[in-house]
Amino acid sequence: MRPLDEKETTIVFEKLFKFTGNNLKNIVENPSHEGPDANPGRYCFRLHKNKVYYVSESLVKRATNIARANLVSLGTCIGKFTHGGNFHLTSQALGILAANAKHKVWLKPTSEMSFLYGNHVLKGGLGRITENIAPGDGVVVFSMSDVPLGFGIAAKSTQDCRKLDPNGNVVLHQADIGEYLRMEDEL
């Protein structure tokens, strides 16, 4: 377990920035109320076995007591570095992203299941969409009752969505909460 180095930090933050925009500040400065300390600490990012964790400082302190080999996980895993050095967000990051999302997409109840099985979001399944999405932006997918379902990358801008045919992709799937069942082992 170690803090991210500068290069890794930029990669992770860039990724998060895609989804949260200026709200990234909130993620970093969020006070943590974990532990017995009277004054709240901060959350920080830790890398452990190629996975990036979003952990409170008090937890980090305690985790140092455990040998690196024995430590399986701590805090919230938000993603992992691939062998190629890329950073992928995993579905556990959804909690943080959903709270601070800049671009959102709401799915109609009928198309929720399709998304949860790992499919892209089609125009036809779109219940609502935030204005001002550009292609390539990170988008958090919600159900109509505001339950975060997953996230992905916008394939079209909001403007283009209007002219899109119902079968066109609006959001490209990256992660969803269905993965907790489908890929239980990997997580």
């Binding site: 909690g95 709401w106 779109l126 204005e131 001002n132 505001d146």
Partner: protein
């Protein structure tokens, strides 16, 4: 002619005067004589005295004397009672003019001027007309018969004298001049008035003649125009106005096309010739008239009249020739600084827009185009009215639809035909005769429809469409130009933020009407423009936010209402264009969330705020829970701070939101923290700028409890009904009231509630509090006012008594503490003294 008459008139009156003057001379006292005799040297000046001017000078004093004199005169000469009437008129005659004048041939005659009887113009005129014959007789009586030549010579002489007098007066003291000029003016007035009168009569005659039979009297239009070129302003104005009336009446219902040369060569019947003559004369004089108007429009004294004429003409004859120049002038004056002119022009343009049937829409296109050009030329620095007129434009949406329907039908027909075609060959042989019959029928039908179209006089749809799209493009071009212009100063400012004093909220006079228009025509905007439009609106609405990293200077550049309006327009545009896609305008919600706090009742328009509330919060189908909760909380806070109307609107909105978002009713629970729904933010952050991050679900709506004690009965009942919403499930009542309606209701009520003076305001508001009935109607409030005041007094006195008691209590407690502390100190001091037995310089406190 006229002059002569007046001159003659002068001659009528004199005979009575000389005796009076003579009497004057008789009354010289002995003392005076003595004095003159004693000081002969002094008397020298008398001979050189300009008696005329002196008497003139003195005449004012003399006027006073005159009455007394007159009495004397009357006593003595009662027998002259016959001439009394004349005398009365003579009263106004100046003694100066009573002096006899010796003519070249040695005869005396008396000059008088009937003094400016301006008050009785009619009298003068009557005299001028009726007295014409009598005068000659009078002249004969008064003066020994004069030949014409002599008379003329006399006239000349008197004129010369008048001139001389004028010169002399110039030389003499200043006080004299007004008198002389008045005299001269009187003369002029007299003649001018008569001329005026005659001209007026002429105008009336011409007008009546023209109206009664325009075809045969069309020539007199030219006379009319000549009169209008008069020097007299009043006559010109009258002429213009009467010409306007005439033109308005005789302009035909079609556009005149002058015959070509070829046509002129052809032989035509008498009637046609007459008609042609009428048309050409009408057209040419109309042209001259318009030229005159446009020339006069630039002169300040005639401007209003000219503009009035032009506006009325445009209104009445928008189909007629030279419409372009009329529209040009009207548009030029649409942003005139003069209120009257501007209003006239605006109403004319509006009526032009609304009554398109008259001119078939062409004038609309022209006017809109001209306004657009004007906005461009003036760089958006015009009066708001000039763009506001666009609001009265109306676009026929059925045009496009009808076309589409036609196309569809055609398509269908084709399809049918195609579908039928394979079947037909088999049937063809069987009913070949039938088919030919059908074809014949179709042919006839087509012909009939063509004929009908030609006769029906309906304008071509495609033509109409073209005009409409042209109008629309001009309108939106203007709107976008204004928006763009509103954007520019931001850039300019951030670069060179000083030296731009022209900025401020006043720098975008056109923004408000532009936004209004955008809202109104939002359904007509092309989807392709929409992205840019929304982007502009977003930047405009956030232009004032303090979170901008540029500086605080940006903050002042758009007012709160303008920014709110931007939000509203964005929503309108979105809503009217998006049936299929539900777009969440997150940024605008953030703006609204912050703008609610920046709202100030006096400065900003409450209507705009309530419209925004309705548009964005009530009408929107779906909200995030966090966002909704944040707005609920903020609206509750807001309603605590402002007047009853605003808080009512806020509460109604709040209720709407709570009804739609059942989860947000956690706010009503008496349990801070919000439990699991509160999300990642565990604590309410009232200063957060983003509603999603405020964590409002973790708070409690304690504001409702306070509001249920609101002085206004309607608000208190609404607040308490909201607070029990969670328990009681019957949320039917009041749910159909929109915030705008609530706001207007209460603001109206407030106006009637409040007496005009500010001092009594609190009283009247308390009135509402004690009035327990929900519908505090005006009459009841008036009736109960006297009773209420007593109650209010009681309550206030109780309140202040309590306050006073509290203060007293505090004071006493403070004294007590002081005393005990000093006692303690004293004790300690004693102890120390005893122990150390050493004198300390320390002094006890007080």
């Amino acid at each position: 002619m006229v002059k002569k008459k007046s001159q003659k008139q002068k001659i009528v009156l004199p005979p009575e005067l000389p005796p009076e003057v003579a009497e004057d001379e008789i009354e010289v006292s002995d003392e005076d004589l003595q004095f003159v005799n004693e000081n002969q040297d002094y008397a020298g000046f008398v001979s050189g005295l300009d008696t005329q001017s002196i008497t003139k000078h003195v005449s004012r004093v003399a006027d006073v004397k005159e009455d007394a004199l007159e009495a004397l005169y009357e006593k003595r000469l009662k027998k002259k009672s016959l001439q009394k009437e004349l005398e009365e008129s003579k009263l106004q005659v100046d003694p100066v003019d009573a002096l006899p004048v010796k003519t070249l041939d040695g005869k005396l005659y008396y000059r008088t001027v009937t003094k400016a009887s301006t008050t009785s113009e009619n009298n003068v005129n009557e005299e001028g007309e009726t007295g014409g014959d009598d005068k000659d007789d009078a002249v004969d009586k008064s003066i020994v018969k004069l030949t014409k030549v002599e008379r003329r010579a006399k006239l000349k002489k008197s004129k010369r004298e008048a001139k001389k007098q004028g010169k002399e007066m110039d030389r003499t003291e200043e006080e004299q001049t007004p008198h002389a000029t008045v005299l001269a003016e009187v003369k002029k007035d007299l003649t001018a008035e008569e001329a005026f009168e005659s001209k007026k009569r002429k105008l009336a005659e011409l007008g009546i003649a023209l109206l009664s039979n325009p075809e045969s009297n069309i020539k007199s239009l030219k006379e009319f125009l000549q009169i209008c070129e008069d020097n007299d302003h009043a006559i010109v104005k009258l002429g213009l106005l009467s010409l306007l009336a005439v033109f308005k009446d005789i302009i035909p219902g079609y556009r005149i096309r002058l015959p070509t040369e070829k046509e002129l060569e052809m032989k035509v019947s008498k009637d046609v010739k007459k008609l042609r003559y009428f048309e050409s004369t009408l057209l040419s004089s109309y042209k001259v008239y318009l030229q005159m108007l446009s020339a006069l429009e630039n002169q300040t004294s005639f401007q209003q009249v000219a503009i009035r004429c032009i506006c009325t003409l445009l209104d009445a004859a928008s189909h007629f020739n030279f419409r372009e120049s009329l529209i040009g002038i009207v548009v030029r004056n649409i942003s005139s600084p003069d209120d009257v002119i501007r209003r006239l022009c605006c109403s004319t343009i509006k009526s032009l827009f609304t009554n398109e049937g008259k001119h078939g829409g062409e004038a609309t296109v022209e006017a809109v185009r001209l306004i657009a050009d004007r906005v461009k030329a003036y760089d958006c620095q015009l009066h708001p009215d000039s763009v506001e007129v666009f609001l009265s434009l109306s676009f026929d949406e059925d045009l496009r639809r009808a076309e589409k329907a036609d196309e569809k039908n055609k398509f269908k027909n084709k399809k049918n035909k195609k579908r039928k075609s394979p079947e037909e060959p088999s049937q063809l042989q069987d009913n070949g005769r039938k088919k030919s019959k059908k074809e014949l029928m179709a042919k006839i039908r087509e012909e009939v429809s063509a004929d009908y179209k030609a006769v029906a006089f309906t304008p071509d749809i495609s033509e109409k469409r073209r005009m409409q799209s042209e109008t629309l493009s001009a309108v939106f071009e203007t709107y976008f130009r204004i928006l763009k212009h509103a954007m520019q100063p931001t850039a300019a400012r951030s670069e060179a933020n000083a030296s731009l004093s022209a900025g401020g909220s006043g720098s975008h006079p056109l923004l408000a009407p532009c936004l209004k228009g955008l809202g109104k025509f939002s359904h007509l905007i092309d989807i392709d423009f929409m992205g840019d439009l929304i982007a502009y609106l977003r930047r405009l609405s956030s232009a004032g936010s303090t979170s901008d990293n540029n500086s605080g200077k940006c903050a002042k550049f758009l007012t709160v209402s303008e920014r709110l309006r931007c939000c509203i327009v964005a929503f309108k545009v979105m809503r009217s264009n998006l049936d299929a896609l539900n777009v969440d305008l997150q940024d605008f919600f953030v703006q609204l969330y912050n703008l609610v706090l920046e709202y100030r009742p006096g400065r900003d328009q409450g209507e705009v705020l309530t419209e925004a509330l309705k548009m964005m919060l009530c009408d929107d189908r779906h909200h995030d829970m966090q966002k909704a909760a944040a707005f609920v909380k903020r609206l509750a806070t807001f309603s605590l701070c402002f007047g009853s109307a605003e808080s009512m609107a806020a509460l109604v909105t709040l209720k709407h939101i709570l009804q739609k978002n059942i989860k947000c009713r956690n706010l009503l629970e008496n349990d801070a923290g919000g439990g699991s729904v509160s999300g990642s933010i565990a604590k309410y952050q009232p200063y957060a700028t983003d509603p999603n991050l405020s964590g409002a679900l973790a708070s409690v709506l304690w504001e409702l409890n306070l509001l249920s004690k609101h002085y206004h009965p309607a608000i208190s009942t609404l607040a308490s009904s909201i607070s029990i919403m969670n328990v009681a499930n019957n949320q039917v009542y009041l749910s159909n009231v929109s915030p705008i309606q609530a706001f207007t209701d209460l603001s109206l009520e407030r106006e009637s509630f409040d007496p005009p003076s500010d001092v009594k305001k609190p009283n009247s508001k308390r009135k509402g509090a004690s009035d327990s009935s929900v519908s505090a109607s005006i009459e009841s409030s008036l009736e109960t006012s006297s009773i209420d005041e007593d109650k209010v007094r009681e309550k206030l006195s109780a309140h202040f008594k309590l306050l006073h008691d509290i203060k007293e209590n505090q004071r006493l407690r403070g004294e007590l503490e002081h005393a005990t502390s000093s006692l303690q100190l004293h004790e300690e001091y004693k102890q120390q003294k005893r122990k150390a037995s050493m004198p300390k310089s320390k002094k006890t406190v007080k």
